[in-house]
């Protein structure tokens, strides 16, 4: 149902390129995967070499050893080839500067990039997009706080099949011309739809939805010249109860999404970083119900051809009782903002001073992780 008119209208909707990185012809692509709910880092990347681990979590069957200390959850095994190719890094025992264990506050910090909840009105990635130039896209129905900023990001839900009549679009665009919210949103929506084409099926399950989203995003990023930064939201990580089966499904979906991106990006994969971030880790010990309550230190995954991977970046604090934060949580030893800043500076090529001032104000205590990209 998409016509040439859509395509032309779509292209016309984008402002001219601006900003250093893209003007210089950068081909870098960035996908931030938001894992909402608090991924259990000790389950995703279990520290099987830590003598205290088994007492907390029991035996982990089928985990894929990465080095002497860490392993991948069995459901992440499809990512093992990326590890071998040096295209997968893990940042462990990482957290935001926050120990309040609230989803809503921690997500605000994860997305806003502030020092305290609600300090920032828009998102660090949205501010980074403004510095990098070009456009950004949220996969899903809405634009999360992370991507809000001076440049209004588009959203695209690849599971939704729409077929609007072109002249209705034109008429409604005219009605929305004066509406500061609806007008820009409609124009962008038409542009994105024109570029990604019709969605593919197979989104019946949440895990299937992750793959479909990764696939559609990969198609768009492979061809689209202006949109190189995207956010993919995956919910369902708040595993308070009997988490074994659900977490395996979730992690399988995450692996599928990353591999679908890789497959669709083709040669562009070598310029791509996919970063999976979550608001906090979970409690070191299982709770009374086979799940895990909210904790502090957790894990971030960094995949892509642009990543200098094949390593776990962690100043490992250990899981002995005395080493746990407040006697219960994995103690954070790496500020998650150090990873986020490395993405901005090394991968997107932004000016470090401006990143310190404009993207992560007041973050000088958390220098960018060195040598992670490029």
């Amino acid at each position: 149902m998409w016509t040439r008119r859509h395509l032309l209208a779509g292209l016309a909707a984008f402002p001219a390129l601006s900003g250093a990185a893209l003007a210089a012809g950068s081909q870098k692509r960035l996908v931030v995967v938001l894992l909402r709910g608090g991924l259990d880092g000790l389950a995703a990347v279990p520290p099987i070499g830590d003598p205290a681990f088994e007492r907390l979590r029991g035996d982990v069957e089928g985990a894929v050893p990465l080095d002497g200390m860490f392993a991948l959850h069995p459901a992440l095994a499809p990512l093992a080839p990326l590890w071998s190719a040096g295209s997968l890094a893990v940042v462990h025992a990482t957290a935001l500067p926050y120990a309040g264990r609230s989803h809503f506050e921690a997500q605000d910090l994860l997305e806003g990039g502030g020092r305290t909840p609600r300090e920032q009105a828009d998102g660090w990635l949205g501010r980074a997009v403004a510095l990098a130039g070009g456009e950004a896209l949220a996969v899903g129905a809405r634009v999360p706080l992370l991507l809000r900023g001076p440049v209004v990001a588009a959203s695209l839900d690849p599971r939704r099949d729409l077929g609007l009549e072109a002249d209705l679009e034109t008429q409604v665009e005219a009605l929305y011309a004066q509406d500061p919210l609806l007008g820009p949103a409609l124009t962008q929506g038409l542009a994105m739809r024109a570029q990604v084409g019709d969605p593919e099926g197979g989104a019946g399950s949440p895990a299937g939805a992750a793959r479909v989203a990764g696939d559609a995003l990969g198609r768009l990023l492979a061809t689209e010249a202006r949109t190189r930064i995207a956010v993919l939201e995956l919910a369902g990580w708040d595993t308070h109860t009997a988490q074994a089966a659900g977490l395996a499904r979730q992690l399988g979906g995450l692996a599928d999404a990353i591999l679908a991106l890789q497959a669709r990006l083709g040669a562009a994969w070598s310029d791509t970083a996919v970063v999976a971030l979550t608001e906090f880790g979970r409690r070191a010990a299982l709770n009374g119900t086979g799940g895990t309550d909210h904790g502090v230190g957790g894990v971030a995954l960094v995949a892509g051809g642009a990543v200098r991977g094949g390593r776990v970046i962690a100043d490992w604090p250990g899981l002995a009782p005395a080493a746990l934060a407040e006697g219960r949580d994995l103690a954070p030893t790496t500020d998650l903002r150090s990873l986020e800043k490395a993405i901005c500076v090394q991968h997107l090529g932004l000016d470090p001073d401006r990143v310190d001032r404009e993207v992560f104000p007041g973050s000088s205590a958390a220098p960018a992780l060195p040598g992670l990209f490029g």
Binding site: G37, R142, L156, G189, R193, G288, E326
Partner: protein, 434 residues
């Protein structure tokens, strides 16, 4: 008639039925306040099952069913839920008290239960009828108590699985606390994120909540207190001791929370955001907060303060309709629409009631509902509507939008074909906003 009639019908209400704006006329505040006193409820509510009946239905399957029986039961549960929300949508589409309905729904969103936890499905609409509706214009404490102890909430936020570590069951089985309900009770339902509580308060509240569970007795389904799960000993909560008191402890804690200034602030802010503006004026929040505290949480008094606050009437199209608001307004303006059709539209727009992604409930911020793809989906719905309904769009636009209908929308509708005119009316900025 001025724009206040439209604000009464759409911002406070659920969107006008034809003739409603004329009925409101120049008495918008009276029209709203007249809806608050008790009156008879739509008889269709009675046809839906109670939570007790739904729990009784579910038990034999959970206990003895084969895998096939469990799968069939899941499908039936889903169908029951979708029928429930369909009936609810039909009733809302015809309700003569739309402000009261919106007020109740704001509270049912404040105390969100969500079928993202499958076990909640059969209990979600009964939760609203049993825990929210009877207390939404009563005392906040009663509402808080009813919502916290309803089977749907106990299941949704894992309280059935929470066991006092030193309780009889805890000592025997080495099971422990689950903090889920306690944390959301503090952060969302009462004090709010900056409300001045610590991790130790979450744990103390979780300990006081242990034991609140569901009956295992045949024939008496519902909430019971099971002492063998309850964490013994005194609790230290919000800077003061609460003596060991078994099932009475939570009552002491909820009373303390209900009259806490942080709760008043949190509740006032959420109401102001829902009813007035995404960034509500401080004066309005303060007014609601003051009434909440001075009336000891009398929610009818808070509603009256809201209606009588000039700030809530400003900027007549300042709020974006959520998808649920939109579908409801379509049903009232052009229907009432069949429940199943409304559920289908709500699914397409991503807001089936009682399906919020987290205990924080549905967002009241336009920015969360105005993603570019969401706007396309709204226009898609408008197009389908136009193809389906045979109505004179020009006249209906005057009827439903009246004082807020813009010249450009009026002209666009006038020069369009009949189905296209209706699509433009529904897609128009005036209809998408409230």
């Amino acid at each position: 008639m001025n724009a206040e009639a439209s604000v009464a019908a759409s911002r406070f209400g659920l969107g006008p039925r034809p003739g409603e704006l004329a009925e409101i006329g120049s008495h918008p505040r009276e029209w709203l306040l007249d809806q608050l006193p008790p009156a008879s409820e739509d008889p269709r509510w009675l046809a839906l099952g109670t939570s007790a009946a739904r729990l009784a239905q579910a038990r034999p399957i959970a206990q003895s069913g084969s895998e096939e029986a469990k799968e069939a039961a899941k499908a039936l549960l889903r169908a029951t839920f979708l029928n429930d929300v369909g009936v609810r949508a039909e009733i809302l589409g015809a309700s003569p008290r739309p402000f009261l309905e919106r007020w109740r729904m704001a509270w049912s969103n404040h105390f969100t239960v969500s079928v993202t936890r499958q076990v909640v499905a059969g209990l979600a609409v009964p939760f609203e009828r049993e825990a929210i509706v009877p207390h939404a214009t009563g005392k906040f404490l009663d509402l808080l108590r009813a919502a916290t102890q309803h089977p749907a909430m106990l299941l949704y936020l894992d309280n059935l699985r929470s066991v006092g570590p030193n309780s009889l069951a805890g000592l025997r089985k080495e099971r422990g606390l689950n903090e889920n309900l306690a944390r959301e009770l503090l952060e969302l339902h009462t004090l709010g994120a900056n409300g001045g509580y610590q991790q130790a308060d979450v744990e103390a509240l979780a300990a006081m909540l242990t034991g609140w569970s569901l009956s295992k007795e045949e024939g008496s389904p519902g909430t019971v207190f099971r002492p063998e799960l309850h964490q013994p000993g005194p609790k230290h909560f919000l800077g003061a001791a609460i003596a060991e008191g078994g099932p009475g402890e939570i009552d002491v804690a909820l009373k303390r929370l209900a009259k806490h200034p942080s709760t008043a602030r949190n509740v006032a802010t959420r109401l102001a955001r829902h009813f007035a503006a995404d960034r509500p004026p401080e004066r309005l929040v303060r007014g609601l907060e003051r009434t909440f505290l001075e009336s000891e949480g009398d929610l009818a008094e808070v509603a009256i303060t809201l209606v009588n606050s000039d700030e809530a009437w400003a900027d007549p199209l300042g709020k974006l309709r959520t998808p649920h608001d939109l579908v409801c307004a379509i049903s009232r303006g052009f229907g009432p629409a069949d429940g199943a059709m409304q559920v289908k539209a709500l699914r397409a727009l991503g807001q089936i009631p009682f399906s919020a992604p987290s205990p924080a409930g549905w967002s009241d911020l336009a920015v969360d509902w105005a993603g570019s793809d969401q706007i396309l989906a709204r226009i898609d719905l408008a197009e389908r509507m136009g193809a389906k309904v045979q109505i004179q769009a020009g006249q209906r636009a005057e009827d439903l939008l009246g004082p807020v209908l813009s010249a450009s929308t009026r002209n666009a509708i006038a020069s369009a074909s009949a189905p296209r005119g209706l699509a433009l009316l529904v897609a128009s900025p005036e209809f998408q906003r409230r």
